[in-house]
Amino acid sequence: MFDRLLEAPPYSLRQGEKERLLLAGLNELTRFHYEKCRDYARILDAAWGGLGSYGAIEDVPFLPVGLFKERELSSTDGPHIVLQSSGTSGQVPSRIVVDPETSTRQSRALIATFRPILGDRRLPFLAIDTRDVLKPTNLTARGAGVLGMMKFGAKATFALSPTLETDLKTVRDFVAAHGGAPFLIFGFTFLVWTKLYEEFRDGELDLSNAILVHSGGWKKMEERKVPNAEFREALRSRFNLTRIYNFYGFVEQIGSMFVEGPDGLLYPPNFTDVIVRKAGSWEPASLGEEGVLQVVSLLPGSYPGHSVLTEDTGRILAVDNGAEGRFGKAIAVTGRVEKAELRGCSDVVATTRAA
């Protein structure tokens, strides 16, 4: 099943066929985790009326992504590593249990997703980040992204200093050495904008052979009021950079990446799908309606992360639209769920000081 979904081109399945194949896999994974993970079984029993057999992917139980910060959920007795990762440094990290089999699936999925964009050869790789982002103990989402993309790159070069200043000479030298043939640039969207585009917008840089993959950091971009279309146009007109791919993914489901299509929408590959839910009732939203994203994936075997309610909001804008052979759902991610500060009698000194 997984192999079949993986071997087909990533967005080749029509939604109906995709759901049919995914549902069987998700039912299987739900049963597997119920049997292997005591915490997961307890949650299903207490919150979902026990283990069921689900007739639609919308009915498959989900876990809120924040639960991975609270509990280390494991479905394996065998050797594994616990990947610790947080959105930004200083936050409580998620703890994700990854065994060799799940790790292999993640790698295969990443390759299947990015091969159509990057080809089979490892490309010279320029990261718009600092080498320090790859701290092994508690990886941030940025670090996890760089680490994931390094699999596709060779001769990794880091464009930023530890204090996130652009090393202009390093970037120029890299482009001079590798700019004649396809090469890979990866970075968080906000860093690409502020540290690559803004630093070089008055200078000379030919990125016509570059393939830019970028992700995350939407919130800061929104604050700067740079919509995706403007981002693309600015890079095209300034650097002749046209092969630009935004993607959506999160550390609790490494390997399940939604990559931007020619229409600017994000597409889940065959082995992954997305459901948009209305906050409060948690019922599926209708086409075009904004809600909270739930992502299902066939990758997580060593931890019960095959159906996760994220804290991101978005909307489904098309189904089976066939843009350059892309079928299934197409989404736009619109932001993060809002969370105001709770009131309370208890002040902490830190907040009093800040007042």
Partner: protein
Amino acid sequence: MHLTSLGLNGAETPIDMATLEARLDAARGALVTPFSAERMDLVAGVGDAILKSKSAVSSHVKHFGFWIRKANLRALAQDFERRRPSGTVSRPRGVVFHVPPRNVETVFLYSWVLSFLTGNANVVRLSHDVSAELGGICDLFLAAFEENDDGSQFFVRYPSDSEGSRLISAQSDVRIVWGGDAKIKAFEDLPLRGGGKAIWFGDRTSLCVLDGEKVAALNGAERLDLAHRLYDDIFVFDQMACSSPHTLYVVGDAATHLSGVKALLQTLGEVASERGASWATGHQISKMVQAFASAASGWSREVSWRDAMLTSTVTDRQERADLRVGSGFLNVVFIPALDAVNGILQERDQTVTHFGFEPEAIVSVAGSGAAPGGMRWTPVGTALNFDFVWDGYDLPFELTRLVRVA
């Protein structure tokens, strides 16, 4: 140090410490008799203005308005008078320094009003982000002081990393600090004026105890009434006030009484939705996370998370529940008898709201507890109603001194 004094309409005037000291000294020399007619009238006048206000008033502000209406103040004064030992007269303490909580900001109004009524001069340290509603109440009082030519009341602001708290403490005869334990610690080392006393309102938690039998026997109208009262306790201040309950301890057993409790919680969710409560999506998800984590740990055997207003967990264990999430989150624990609450209470527990018990039973359990917690037992629906006895303090007496007259 940048010290400012708050005037009408949020106007801030810089005031140097020496001037403030001089004014406080002057005020200390001209204190007013406790519960003077003039001060009672002033406060009651503000209460009337709050209740008559045409703009929408939040429920806790409305409660404050009711609390300071004339009849209530008169009852307070009579009660104070009645309890004064014979052969004594009472005098104000002097200068009282109030450090309110940053978030449940209206709560300090009660202790400040009591201090004003008992004749003291007062300095209130306001934070920089007070709500418009509290600003409006301050304005009502400031206008009344101006009219009465009362120069003994100060609302001030200063940066928290400055010397302000130390300098004002040194001029104060009483200091009331609201806030968490960490905040109290920050004030502990600041000496008060000779003989000064410190009153602390620290971290507190609260709970609710229900008689499962009585809950199961409620008819629809009674259940709705109880749900409205629970709403008042739980859905104000995001369930994060010291006296907001987080756990329902139900006397009874799950097999017999859980369905009644569930019906009550469902009604509570409906009442909350009808009364216009709403939580940010992020809080709804946080509640889901905490409920699922509670299930994963084995604590909860059942969690209810599909209600947009209220998330709840039910455990089979007969022990204290410490999960305190807020924004509409309740743990349900069954206990064999009302007495069992005393095994659950801890020192930091403040308010126990109760439903379905005979008054004698409540008095008996409140009096028999060996644990120091549970400083206030009050019916469901009144958790947030401030009382002049709070956290074990009888405030009018704490804020006055008795003079023996033989």
